[in-house]
Amino acid sequence: MKFSMASAPGGRAASSPLMGDAEEPTIFELSVPARRSFSLRDTAVPSMDLDEIQSWVREDAVELPEVSERDLVAHYTRLASRNYSVDLGAYPLGSCTMKYNPKFADQVAAIDGLTNVHPLTPPEAIQGWLRLLDELEHYVCEITGMAQATLQPPAGASGELTGLLIMRAYHASRGRKPTKVVIPDSAHGTNPASVSLAGYEAVTVPSGADGLVDLAKLRELVDENTAGIMLTNPNTLGLFEREIREILDVIHSVGGLAYYDGANLNAIVGVARPGDMGFDIVHSNLHKTFATPHGGGGPGAGPVAVVEHLVDFLPGPLPRSLDGGASYTWVTPERSIGRVHAFYGNAVVLARALAFMQYLGRDGLRTMSELAVLNANWLKTRIADSFEVAYQQPCMHEFVVSAERLKAETGVRALDVAKALLDAGFHSPTVYFPLVVHEALMIEPTETESPQTLEAIAQALEEIVATARTDAAAVFAMPRNTPVRRLDEAMAARKPILTEDQRQ
């Protein structure tokens, strides 16, 4: 096959480190007694006596570091320079949708009238926030094909548990107590963990040779004890479950509900909707599909949207207008499962996501998904000679290849490929997930990488494979250009040092 893209500089971070490979001291090591950065206003409030609480008063101050602001700034600036990020280069980490996070959304997140508002302010004084949340709920419901949504869950996993508790409340309201929730063997780890926390037993349905749910096996598994199913579609192999209608019919026929894990929504926005597929409960990972930054691990946002007959169970409070949109207030549904967050979820993250949606609009959102799928298919096809593509059918926004052959021939494993890619200036794909593919490399380029960057990633992968064939030891020794090299993870786990004070 012929590919028409040339590699071009830009998508890789290979030029980044400025100097040095020394350790960065910890902030505690930078501490000098009596140094300070803080500056507090003079409140003119008199000093009040402590007599009442004397027996609670601590003797020593908490051992926080004492540093100058100059040292503080230098420390965290140096730390930042020791970290890969989307802003630095391509981040094809499968399942995580590490797309570019637009800067104007940072400005949205800094608007005084949004960030400096106390959550327990009476509704009359927070009309802007209530309107904003209501509008986001509308976007989420239209995109997923659902009736109403809670914006409280602060991440996908929290959304899963929220959705499963809604499922539970629904069954209870009908006097039923089914015990099992079906999940495919390719499911993300949060799915089975959430199932257990919701008090259900996770039952695994195997994937067929085509990477899709084995419908015949599913039929055998499902009975009146089945509370529902949790599916990602496209699934974690990047494949669309073509028989989704039939799968969900099986579940619905025993009175079960269908839960859609929206982690992979980036493939289908404006193209297909979970609601039209027959799902009843849907969470969206706004930090993936709608480009809110991942923050080194969080915060995220995982709104849960439901079909009409489940709206009564949604966590409250919900922003609602009781006068046709003139004003908004908080309303808690009658049979609400209760709060899942102390307040209303990661509100500022929600604002960023809405801003992104408004920017792209109805057509731009669809194009976003189409180009994510185009990029994934192109890169998959491009690297098919270097790695076995796990499943042959067209992929959605991501795909999984296996390093099994490479490992057999050279000893170089998926992990080594991931480490070597770091040396080339790219972040690694997700490795060893999903579990159904041996030596899995799960690659999600997202729509925001250029075709030139995709070509550069492909060439880097080719080079790694070539090096593995001639000099596997060189690959095992990678990365060499990163701030630190491979770590002794066993030592970290054997005798954990989790704080400065646990170090001997």
Binding site: Y76, P192, R245
Partner: protein, 443 residues
């Protein structure tokens, strides 16, 4: 069309040609045609960047309750502190903001070391040996702590003080529906502190005893008494602590808590209408293998350099799956980093001074209110206390908004009370002005 995808029309054509396709629709042949949408989404068309910003400025302008125009005496789990420029700027560096979970530690030392330092600060603050790298918020931390206690003791029964934040208790009840939690409550005395009851008698055994420190109404609880009850029940003692209070008060860990959780918003995170906030979690070392969330540990790299890595990963959902101790994946790392920077900016002395200013402010307000007949019910408090209003508290709060004050928070289902909070951001002039306005309203 607006897009953050860099592709030119021509490049899209070329890529499709490489794939032997003639249109973008062809990418979706694996989706049954009956499921393909033919109609565009019923959403507005795209906007320019500036139009979106203007739209959000309007949302902001429709919130009259902004810090710059409203003087706040509200707390209830979200506090109006002065923030440091350093935390804001350093915490907004794109290397932190646009990274994800440090799965590849060789290129994530920045986030990992910042989290290791954060864990150290939280552990020292709470007086316990270990802390995790963050959970969603104070409520989530409490829920996770209870799950951990249930897992450890194999008991379903938990004893919760009604002084624990009502939002956290509600979240505990919500999630407890899945884990079959049996929640028993401890009532409050007239001074808003928990009645621990007599510690003899027939005890069924519990997974955990849970108290606030200080509690939602402001009362500084007697942790030793809570410990005694926990011992009697062979339960773990979980303390929901206000981190700022620990600049002045003895830490719950040293007073006998097994797990300390809390909301970290006070540590340099803007009010943000309730989120993103920061769930804090610390525990005794023996529970390390049951801890929820990420743990960052120290190790060495190939060349012997000190480095950091997420560790004890077998606790986590991606490995343990249905047997995981917690389902958390995405957490609140960025807030943890910002909190660590803010704590370092305050430093040992600043943190102490800050706590004292909060104490002084609250006690000054309390003494002024006592002068006008609003005597706090809370006897021993730090920066938050409760007063009983004659009429509806919601009504009074509404009227005080007209004077430019956010007059505390109304506890759910207790419309005859207001809980006031004072931080270092409140000046004597503001406090005096607040008391004057209250006096006018109450006359």
């Amino acid at each position: 069309m607006p897009s953050f995808a860099p592709h030119t029309e021509e490049e899209i054509e070329q890529m499709l040609t490489d794939l032997g396709m003639s249109s973008l629709e062809e990418l979706y042949t694996s989706i049954p045609s009956t499921l393909m949408r033919t109609e565009p989404l019923a959403l507005p068309k795209d906007l320019s960047e500036i139009e979106v910003l203007e739209q959000f400025s309007r949302f902001g302008a429709d919130n009259s309750a902004v810090r710059s125009s409203l003087i706040s005496f509200a707390g209830g789990g979200a506090y109006d502190h002065d923030l440091s420029a350093a935390a804001r700027h350093l915490g907004s560096q794109s290397a932190f903001v646009t990274a994800y979970t440090p799965y590849q530690p060789e290129v994530a030392q920045g986030v990992l070391q910042a989290l290791f330092e954060f864990q150290t600060m939280v552990a020292r603050l709470f007086g316990l040996p270990i802390a995790n790298a963050s959970l969603y918020d104070g409520a989530a931390s409490l829920v996770e702590a209870v799950n951990m206690a249930v897992g450890f003791t194999k008991r379903q029964r938990v004893i919760v003080s009604t002084g624990v934040h009502p939002g956290y208790r509600e979240a505990l009840a919500t999630f407890g529906a899945g884990t079959h939690l049996e929640i028993e409550h401890l009532g409050l005395a007239a001074d808003d502190s928990t009645i621990f009851g007599s510690s003899d008698g027939d005890h069924a055994g519990a997974a955990a005893v849970i108290v606030g420190y200080p509690n939602y109404f402001g009362a500084i609880e007697n942790i030793e008494q809570a410990r005694a009850l926990a011992d009697n029940e062979e339960a773990l003692l979980i303390v929901v602590a206000d981190p700022i209070a620990l600049g002045l008060l003895r830490s719950p860990g040293t007073l006998g808590a097994d797990i300390v959780v809390g909301e970290g918003q006070s540590l340099g995170i803007p009010l943000s209408f309730g989120g993103p906030y920061l769930g804090l979690f610390a525990a005794r070392t023996e529970y390390v293998r049951l801890m929820p969330g990420r743990l960052v540990g120290e190790t060495r790299d190939l060349e012997g350099r000190r480095s950091f890595v997420t560790t004890l990963r077998t606790r986590e959902q991606d490995i343990r799956r249905e047997k995981a101790t917690s389902n958390v994946c995405t957490n609140q790392t960025l807030m943890a980093i910002q909190a660590a920077i803010h704590m370092a900016w305050l430093g040992k002395r600043g943190f102490q001074l800050l706590a004292r200013r909060n104490y002084d402010g609250a006690h000054y307000l309390a003494s002024r209110l006592s002068e006008i007949g609003l005597v706090p019910s809370t006897a021993k408090f730090f920066r938050e206390f409760t007063v009983h209003t004659m009429g509806s508290a919601t009504e009074l709060q509404h009227r005080m908004l007209q004077h430019g004050f956010l007059a505390g928070v109304v506890p759910p289902n207790l419309d005859d009370r207001l809980v006031f909070a004072v931080t270092e951001a409140r000046t004597r002039t503001e406090i005096d002005g607040f008391v004057d306005s209250l006096m006018k309203e109450l006359r």
